[in-house]
């Protein structure tokens, strides 16, 4: 299960590239919604700033938040939606009866997640620079660990979502889109954690993305002590990544035992 041959991972990535390049709707899905988010939130925050409120950095925080949230979302989607697309096209059986290990299958979706997240971040950053004078590079070198932490969180969220689809079948497919948005209010994408009720703040700190968004706001407001946020986010991510990998493996084994893997892929 843990064997990973780069040539086979490359073969799967090539397939994802072909499928994506042939589907203008999928490309639009990947680019359209982030761009719409950016436009709506950016103009809303511009409007609030023009009212002369006491939050001069509202645009920066909101635009930074929406760009970073899309990193997480794209990484998660690349795993769970790729899995669903294979299910819908009745192609998953051909993959599962080829000499592809589960680790290779998952690795390919990770690579696709990185590519999609990078592409979306690049597009949104350029737009944000033109429309709102928001400079992603103002995060300096912190940009990389912040990005990587959201990417990893997207990976384990995607893996967990896929495991639930394996467990519950098609009825759970809505989770592929819902899960990131379930976490969005908790992980303080657009506002500080302190805004949340006290009991929810305690929950929020167990979500890696909360530390990432708090760290981002800290840097954007001129702070330079982001390391603590990054360390906490990284530790939580490693913990959850290991846990969801074990959970995913257990769900695959369970699906093989109960015959649901054969049912779901045929």
């Amino acid at each position: 299960m843990l064997t990973v041959r780069p040539d086979r991972v490359a073969g799967l990535c090539y397939r994802y590239y072909l499928v994506l390049s042939r589907s203008s709707f999928r490309v639009m899905d990947i680019v359209f919604w982030p761009v719409m988010d950016l436009l709506v939130w950016g103009f809303v925050s511009n409007y609030f700033s023009s009212l002369g409120g006491s939050a001069p950095q509202a645009v920066t925080f909101l635009v930074g938040g929406i760009i970073f949230f899309n990193v997480l979302y794209r990484a998660q989607q690349s795993i769970s939606v790729s899995f669903l697309e294979d299910l819908w096209s009745r192609n998953l059986l051909s993959i599962f009866v080829s000499p592809i290990t589960v680790a290779e299958f998952v690795s390919a979706t990770y690579v696709v997640g990185v590519a999609q997240a990078l592409a979306v971040t690049l597009i949104m950053s350029v737009m944000a620079a033109f429309l709102y004078a928001f400079n992603m590079l103002s995060l300096s070198w912190y940009l990389i660990p912040l990005f990587v932490n959201l990417l990893v969180m997207g990976w384990w969220l995607g893996l967990g979502t896929t495991a639930l689809i394996l467990r519950y079948g098609y009825q759970a497919e809505a989770l592929a889109w819902a899960v990131p948005f379930l976490l969005q209010p908790i992980c303080a994408v657009f506002y500080p954690v302190s805004v949340l009720p006290a009991w929810l703040q305690s929950v929020a700190w167990f979500v890696p993305a909360t530390h990432v968004f708090e760290g981002m706001r800290h840097i954007l407001s001129g702070g330079n002590q982001c390391a603590v946020y990054l360390i906490k986010a990284s530790l939580l991510n490693v913990l959850y990544w290991v846990a969801t990998t074990i959970f995913f493996g257990a769900m695959i084994n369970r699906a093989r035992e109960r015959g649901s893997l054969a049912k779901i892929v045929t």
Binding site: L93, S94, R256, G259
Partner: protein
Amino acid sequence: MLGLGLRQLPPEHYGFAKIVGHAQNAPSAITQSQCKPEAGYEPENLREAMSAVIEVRNLAKKFDKATAVEDISFTIEKGEFVGLLGQNGAGKSTTIQILLGLITPTSGDVRIFGYSPWKERVKVLERSNFSSAYVAMPPNLQVRENLEVFARLYGVRNRSRKIDELLSLFAVDHLARKMTGALSSGESTRVNLCKALLNDPELLLLDEPTASLDPDIADKVRGLLRQIQKERGLTVVYTSHNMTDVEELCHRVLFLHRGRIIAQGTPGEIVENLGESSLEEVFIAIARDTLKVAPGPSSVPGTAPDVAQASTSARNDGESKSEDASVEISGRPGREKEELC
């Protein structure tokens, strides 16, 4: 009779190109190095001694309280073309899915090339392939692109040449740039078979490959499958509800009913021993529990008969029927459990 007639015709008669350059590439035997076992998994000398491609021993699969497969055993040797028959719910899909490593059994053991299909699945799947009428490839990719992807997944060398060769073999080279989703059933079946032969498999599992094909295309596909199997020495496990397919192609048939093998032998012998006029009549009689000949006592429940003898003579003859082959008839008419898958 139709089968005999077709066998005497050249491949071009089927409307497909003649196979070139494969027979010499096909492994002539399962060599010692190919069967190199996992350390500590099984005694070295035992695995080396095995010549069977598939060995199933006392296989059972239960889903909660329902039994899908119950204590079946059989052996399939290199070069055999074996039909797995039975009505819906008989256990053949579960058996195929266990062979493919998609389902783990409740008890019993399966060895393919000497390896466990779920514990050492990559070693098995590198040397096998699968095609089904019910499996598709991404519809928005061209035929050639889909084959290119699978060639990469199977680590095929000289991918382009191999794909050209197979497209030509199945007479679908003109479809190379066509979107896979726009193919007809017949075209799709042939493209799926191209995919199934990309890695020059030693074992081919075919799940109703001629389902939904018109008689002409089904006949061409049967002719080609027979030709490929013979020229490459392929081992084929074949499920179908089309008894013409089975009578024409299979050296041997395993009849499953309510999770058990109740009859096995060459198609002709099964028909003769069960006192029916055709394999289709046998199928119907088994399904309706109206066999003219009552299922006889099994020598050992679930144990295969002298399979090697049957298959060897079938191969040597180049015919579906073998006078030397034995037939086992066993069963449990009173069994009421149904399979889930």
